[in-house]
Amino acid sequence: MSLYFPIAEIAFNIYLIVALGALVGLLSGMFGVGGGFLVTPLLMFLGVPAPVAVATGANLITASSVSGALAHARRGGIDIKMGWILTVGGGIGAFVGAWLFGLLKSLGQLDVVIALTYALLLGTVGVLMLAESLRALIRRHRQGADTPLRPRRRRHVGLRYALPFKMRFRASKLYISALLPLAVGFVVGVLAAVMGVGGGFLMIPAMIYIIGMPAAVVVGTSLFQIVFVTAFATLLHAAETQSVDILLSAALVVGAVAGAQYGARLASRVAGVEFRVLLALMVLLVAMRMAWSLFVAPAALYRIEWGLP
């Protein structure tokens, strides 16, 4: 059954879209990632205009992050104070990102910048993830047990304590400058608005290595921030470029909700390392496909875009 999506102005097989949502849900259920890095490029590959893919992707991540955030909240896995500061930074970042998005769109370089940032960020993250998961795989073969990776926490990053506006974060057992989470949130917010991702893949390492948060509250707090920041980014895109396709995101969300349930069950049954390798390969594949569009001669030398900036 085919469905015409009024903002994307294109018809798709509804099952294809629901399946895409399910894939994203599966990943978020299994790994706790929002899946924006996958859904936004895939929508673009399918022919959805880049602005609509980004805005609709952001809207989907809100949905796929809420259930995760609620689950973490129930067992106290969120540093609420830290979360709010990250959210404020993210809100400012999303605002700047949306402005940048409009500017790049009017300069005609939006597609190039999106492809470039995706290729660079996903390429880096993909390589790191692949290395980490392969290391874990080898370690398990040697030791016969799937020991979780313990991040080395460098407690004495001078910057963390030297900066002004120090605050006490009880849940994270930290007394550090508020500027640090504000900056991390800001960068993630910009990415959310420009790339249509939650930015967890960047925020989680930043929380561990830059802010120095304990692992127990990292995922929950990042999801907390993602819910609010992607919601804000969706709102900004809807208000400024009218590029949120509510029907497209509804179809994706239906798939994502179902996929997340299955993903969570799958994660508790199956050993995670093989799947982490698979996820890393998927990330690398998307990065390579994005890079391909930049380096290989385009089929058409001219491109037309409706409306005047």
Partner: protein
């Protein structure tokens, strides 16, 4: 010779030149006089294309009659040109920059058609001379488009720009050119028919179809018919809401996501306990 006589002679010379030029000009203009003998009567299978939830592109049949029927229809050709709604657009040129393919703005167009189809019973080059076709803005490369200058002035776009626009439209599947006796059929010199394939990414607005009857390389009759494409049902509602109440629309999208996420978490909780 008085001045009067000289003036009279000058006036007469001017008249003669005018007559000559005028006659020449008349001869050059496509002659609708010849067309008066024949008439194309057009109709369409439907005049409103509904861009509803189930729209995935569709066929629209243009058909009609020729009156009086052509007796020597073997030499006759039918050309149908369909033009979608005109929209302002930006044309980009892909260029290699530091090893990357980047977009460079080429021009701002005031009136690019959002769709164009050219259907004919034979390849255009076999039907008439390019100069004759150009008078009727055929093929799409002859479309009279306009560009907007930096200052906002509207100017005719030069041929290379129109060709670039056509290439860009074709890359998006918005140009459909097909030739052949099955594409536009002409039966017994009296009945004609052409099937238009409207793409899934069709724009909203008015469409103009121009039908030309050619014989021996000249147009002997022409006609026009219009149809419209409109978003209907929920798609119309959504598209309108997005543009008329963007903030409310955004809030609705966010609330929908939050609700769906919360529902999912409730579902998950019931299952896990």
């Amino acid at each position: 010779m008085t001045t009067n006589a000289r003036v009279a002679r000058a006036v007469m010379t001017a008249c003669a030149i005018l007559l000559l030029v005028g006659g020449f000009a008349l001869a050059c203009v496509p002659m609708p006089a010849a067309a008066s003998q024949y008439r194309i009567i057009p109709d369409a299978s439907h005049r409103l294309v509904r861009l509803g939830y189930d729209f995935r592109g569709e066929e629209l049949v243009l058909f009609g009659a020729i009156a009086p029927p052509l007796t020597d229809h073997e030499t006759a050709d039918l050309v149908v040109a369909i033009e979608g709604p005109r929209r302002p657009a930006v044309l980009w040129h892909k260029r290699r920059f530091a090893g990357l393919w980047v977009d460079e703005p080429l021009a701002r167009l005031a009136d690019s058609p959002a769709f164009y189809a050219l259907l004919a019973s034979r390849p255009l080059s076999e039907i008439a001379a390019a100069s004759v076709l150009a008078r009727f803005h055929l093929p799409p490369e002859q479309l009279p488009l306009h560009r907007l200058d930096e200052s906002g002035d509207v100017r005719p776009a030069d041929p290379s720009l129109v060709a670039a626009a056509v290439e860009a439209l074709a890359a998006r599947g918005l140009i459909d050119t097909r030739f052949g006796p099955d594409v536009v059929t002409l039966r017994e010199g009296a009945l004609w028919r052409a099937n238009i394939r409207l793409p899934a990414s069709l724009a909203e607005g008015r469409f103009l179809a121009r039908i030309f009857l050619f014989r021996n390389g000249v147009v002997i009759a022409q006609a026009q018919i219009t149809f419209a494409a409109r978003k209907t049902g929920i798609e119309r509602l959504v598209a309108r809401a997005a543009h008329r109440a963007p903030l409310l629309y955004g809030l609705a999208a966010v609330l929908l996501s939050l609700l769906a996420g919360w529902l999912a978490s409730q579902l998950g909780r019931r299952r896990s306990f």
